[in-house]
Amino acid sequence: MSWFTRKDKGILTPTEAKREAPDGLWYQCPSCKKVMHTREHRLFAWTCSSCNYHEKIGSQDYFELLFDQSRYTELDAFMSSGDPLKFEDTKRYPDRIKATEKKTGLKDAVRTAHGKMNDVEVVVAAMDFSFIGGSMGSVVGEKIARGIDYALKHKIPFLMISKSGGARMMEAGFSLMQMAKTSAKLALLAEAKIPYVSLLTDPTTGGVTASYAMLGDFNISEPGALIGFAGPRVIRETIGKDLPKGFQSAEFVLEHGFLDFIVDRKDLKDKLTALFNMLK
């Protein structure tokens, strides 16, 4: 019997937790340990009403949070992964995909949609960390590429919400080239002078950071998000000592000049539309 599903299992994403925890259950903030009603947590855009800890959320939550009346049209909803390399580690790649689809109800690690945000028409691509660590394979690259195509065609802003551990190793070279593909499309978007906002959420590391996540006209983040190219473990092993406190946090990255601003998730929608309206 568990109240605090997240604490008990440790790895559940909020999306899963919510599915298993209908309204009337409770959420405990992993940071300050405050217990709050799930309804309250949702009302605060899945942030802690006490310490402002930003819980990791998925594409569905962001779509509901950002689009007016939670109404949007999803693009390429049924696109799913191939297995070009017949990759097998401890599991066959197609089996891993199938198992993950079943567990998460998702087709891959990104969903793209267009709709209105405070009446501003936008395309949003949001990543799901629960799908193989938000890793970037062909589906992620292709969906983002087509999302950018849609923004180009309709001359509307593009918002990318990244949350990823990096490359999808099971797609090896194909995974690597998604960095190139998405960056190529962003070059076209930039040339067309269409605004691109990249929101880096906890965590954004690896190949995603070295491609679309860092290419925004505006690179922004949520408080406390981990952002980096190399992961903390790798860096710790490289330099052979502990990392300074706050290293690779959104605040750290902002201080070093790589973010335009950090935004509280509760203000995200209004601040973005204010920005888009200024650019009109």
Binding site: S81, A172, G173, A187, A210, M214
Partner: protein, 317 residues
């Protein structure tokens, strides 16, 4: 003393035997030409057999052979003249990324590449061929300068990855690589990229967006090294051979999957056995490829560059 990989040893033993036979013949003034010819033939046979049946892991080993030609070796052997240029104009000069204008015959190229070191001191100086953000920014500065003066660009890729250090993160390793990738798509001049050794992940891709991306026969190119892949998927280094197989990281694999445009052959046994032949082959490929690319307008090259990378990926709908 030559460094010998395991699968090079049987060949080296026969070669030593041949040398000894020839020496004995001279010392004792006897004719061993028939026996020597036979031995030479079997050496050639063994070489062909060994190097036409390399496993993917053995290719990775060859790509890292400590005697393999590095970027500056290619530059030295290919160019009639070379002026090295330093610095990113912001923070520092990164010794793991070299570049400058080089003249090959009539043509001037901007040649840029990661540089490894051959002894302990050089390896440290070159940071094992792992650039910091300054390296990628230096590379981009030089590429934009090439564009300004309408000179074609050649990049030589040879890196175990971008440096995963503390300062590298502070100075935006991800941002530096990302910007290079995006901006290389819009370069108006021809861009030829050649993986000459190791092509590891974003650290390689950061200078590898080109009209033609070519791989040397024994180079590897993938999203992660076999060792790191093994560590992540099998939780130990011991599965590196299996990881190399699974990653399909050889030139043949990458060409087969249309992720690179072509393969440049190496001397039998690997580029390290014959610098002159290896570098001349690369030089000729550069000149031929440049000739092809200069038939196109800048707009055509940019469109085709974007189109090529945009079509990479396998999905089902």
């Amino acid at each position: 003393m030559r460094t010998l990989l395991d699968f090079e040893k049987p060949i080296a033993e026969l070669e030593a035997k041949l040398a000894e036979m020839k020496k004995l013949a001279i010392d004792n003034n006897v004719d061993v030409s028939t026996a020597a010819a036979q031995l030479e033939a079997s050496i050639e046979e063994l070489k062909k057999e060994t190097f036409s049946n390399l496993t993917r892991w053995q290719r990775v080993q060859l790509s890292r052979h400590p005697e393999r030609p590095y970027t500056l070796d290619y530059i030295e052997h290919m160019c009639d003249e070379f002026i090295e240029l330093f610095g990113d104009r912001t923070v520092a000069d990164d010794k793991a990324m070299v570049g400058g204008f080089g003249r090959i015959g009539e043509e001037t190229f901007m040649i840029i590449g990661q540089q490894k070191g051959r002894n302990t001191k050089q390896r440290q100086l070159r940071n094992f061929g792992m650039p910091n953000p300054e390296g990628y920014r230096k590379a981009l500065r030089l590429m934009k300068m090439a564009e300004k003066f309408n000179k074609p660009i050649v990049t030589l890729i040879d890196t175990p990855g971008a440096f995963p250090g503390l300062e590298a993160e502070e100075r935006g390793q991800g941002e530096a690589i990302a910007r290079n990738i995006r901006d290389m798509f819009m370069l108006k001049v021809p861009v030829i990229c050649i993986i000459i050794g190791e092509g590891a992940s974003g650290g390689a891709l950061g200078i590898a967006i080109g009209d033609r991306v070519l791989m040397l026969e024994n180079a590897w190119y993938s999203v992660i090294s076999p060792e790191n892949c093994s560590t992540i998927l099998w939780r130990t280094w011991n599965f590196k051979e299996q990881a190399a197989e699974a990653l399909k990281l050889t030139a043949e694999d990458m060409k087969g999957n249309k992720l690179v445009d072509g393969i440049i052959p190496e001397p039998l046994g690997g580029a390290h056995l014959d610098f002159e032949q290896a570098t001349q082959t690369v030089k000729n490929v550069i000149l031929e490829t440049y000739k092809e690319l200069s038939q196109l307008t800048p707009e055509e090259r940019i469109d085709q560059r974007i189109e090529k990378f945009s079509s990479m990926g396998v999905v089902t709908e």
